[in-house]
């Protein structure tokens, strides 16, 4: 009887596989048929700008410190044309090393560095995967349209006083007892 069961199981297996003829494949035909990538999908890294059009990056090196594979290199400098503010003199990401973990985006205090849902970075030469600042910098604001670091920082800057930032209350008079 075991023999009959074996034979039945073998034929049943053939039938089960044969039934697949009438199902549609689950494969996504990629270049023609593109999958939906959510806005938070972690792909290519970009450097964004303020709503005013100035670079957001303040060259704090936090992203390159947070990067687990050390693929971010940058050098800070002071910009004499913009209140001696710090900006990256060069900003270089080696995408042949990048693991798209998004730690740089999390570390960034000014929302400058962002990952976008674009993953098509195939290159024939490996050196083409090293992106310089002009490759990384985009002209838009990325995911945070209204955010301007110098407008929300709670300190006095050259173009605003304390309490004049966006969504910022006037400073508390610490010498007063009134609420």
């Amino acid at each position: 009887m075991t023999v009959i069961r074996y034979i039945r199981d073998l034929l049943l297996g053939l039938w089960v596989v044969f039934k697949r003829t009438f199902t549609t494949p689950v494969t996504v035909q990629y270049p023609e048929e593109r999958p939906y990538l959510p806005p938070r999908w972690r792909g290519r890294i970009v450097l964004t700008r303020d709503p005013d059009g100035a670079e957001r990056c303040v060259a704090c090196h936090l992203c390159s410190a947070a990067c687990p594979v050390d693929c971010i290199a940058l050098q800070a400098a002071d910009n004499p044309e913009a209140h001696e503010r710090r900006y990256p003199e060069f900003f270089r990401i080696n995408f042949s090393r990048c693991i798209y973990c998004g730690m740089c985006e999390e570390a960034c205090p000014t929302n400058a560095i962002q990952l976008i849902p674009d993953f098509e970075q195939g290159e024939y030469a490996r050196r083409n995967l090293v992106y310089e600042k002009e490759d990384l910098l985009i002209s838009g604001t990325g995911k945070y349209h209204d955010y301007n670091f110098y407008r929300v920082a709670g300190v006095r800057t050259l173009d605003k006083d304390k309490g004049q930032g966006a969504n910022e209350l006037p400073p508390v008079d610490v010498r007063s007892l009134m609420p």
């Binding site: 073998l10 297996g13 053939l14 697949r20 003829t21 199902t23 494949p25 689950v26 035909q29």
Partner: protein
């Protein structure tokens, strides 16, 4: 009197279609495996991807043809040719339609068996000449498997031969005009089909080239078009297995309405699909199980089948 132009035309048609079909089968197998695994398989080149084999062929011809320095060079080079030649030689006796056969030998069945025995040499000396332990293990397995399955492949055919009373394949087909031999010879068919799968190294009997265990078995060291020849030879032997099954047990070209060659092709296609379906479904045997199965189950089955067939034929004759 042999009509030479007719023979030459037959040779050209059969040779051409065999090689083309062997190429197309690679694509067909990949597509069908894809379908049965709920994916697409190669579908980019040409309509439905049917030119994939052509692209593969161009690729494999332009690849480096590496002969390992430790291999036995002369034997190593000859071996892939043996696979293809023996498989193609067997097609000489395959009757596709009445009067559409290269050599209508009176011993067609024996010629087929002889050629499939010769094909075993290619596997054996290919693995031996490679001088590689995986190739060697593959050919060791091939020796045991082919030798044991060769035996009852011959025996299982004899039932059909007895019923038809001839070794001539055209006569065997003609004898099935009213009833396919698969009905009186069901067990003969089963034994033959299993032995044929083992001869063609197809799942579940593909131990000589078990890629999960032996890299690629006996052709591990082969590259470029030499590997391609092994590949084509394997697909030719699948074609041959389907063709022989159709001729011996499924009435060859017989069928209503359609022309004989079309019926033959349709039946062959059915068996090719069945063989691919088996590959998509069944796992590989363990090697000792394979030999146990061969010698202890299929061999006695084939012998009993032959004994009963012979007895019935004798009883009817007297």
């Amino acid at each position: 009197m042999i009509d030479w132009s007719h023979t030459a035309l037959t040779i050209a048609v059969i040779l051409g279609s065999c090689l083309t079909l062997a190429g197309m089968m690679i694509w067909l197998e990949r597509r069908l495996l894809g379908v049965w695994q709920e994916r697409y398989g190669p579908n980019r080149l040409g309509p439905g991807g049917c030119l994939q084999s052509l692209a593969d062929m161009i690729k494999i011809f332009t690849k480096e043809d590496w002969i390992p320095p430790f291999a036995d060079k002369a034997v190593f080079v000859i071996t892939p040719a043996i696979v293809v030649i023996t498989a193609l030689m067997s097609f000489a006796v395959v009757p596709v339609a009445p009067d559409f056969v290269v050599a209508d030998l009176n011993v067609g069945v024996l010629f087929f068996l002889a050629m499939s025995s010769l094909a075993a040499y290619s596997v054996i000396i290919g693995g031996w000449a490679s001088n590689n332990k995986f190739a060697f293990l593959g050919s060791l397995r091939a020796i045991a498997q082919l030798l044991s399955y060769e035996v009852f492949m011959g025996i299982s055919l004899m039932g059909a031969v007895l019923l038809a009373g001839s070794f001539n394949l055209s006569d065997i087909v003609e004898a099935q005009r009213h009833q396919w031999f698969v009905i009186p010879q069901f067990f003969g068919f089963l034994c033959f089909f299993m032995a044929g799968l083992a001869e063609a190294h197809r799942t579940p009997f593909d131990m000589p080239e078990a890629e999960a265990e032996l890299v690629a078995g006996y052709h591990s060291e082969y590259s470029g078009m030499k590997f391609g020849m092994f590949f084509v030879g394997e697909y030719l032997s699948i074609l041959l297995l389907s063709a022989m099954t159709v001729i011996l047990f499924f009435g060859g070209w017989h069928g209503p309405w359609l022309p004989p060659a079309v019926w033959f092709a349709l039946k062959m296609f059915g068996f090719i699909v069945l063989i691919i379906l088996i590959r998509a479904t069944w796992p590989r045997f363990r090697f000792d199980q394979l030999l146990t199965f061969g010698w202890k189950i299929v061999m006695p089955l084939a012998l009993i089948n032959l004994l009963l067939t012979g007895g019935i034929v004798l009883w009817k004759a007297t």
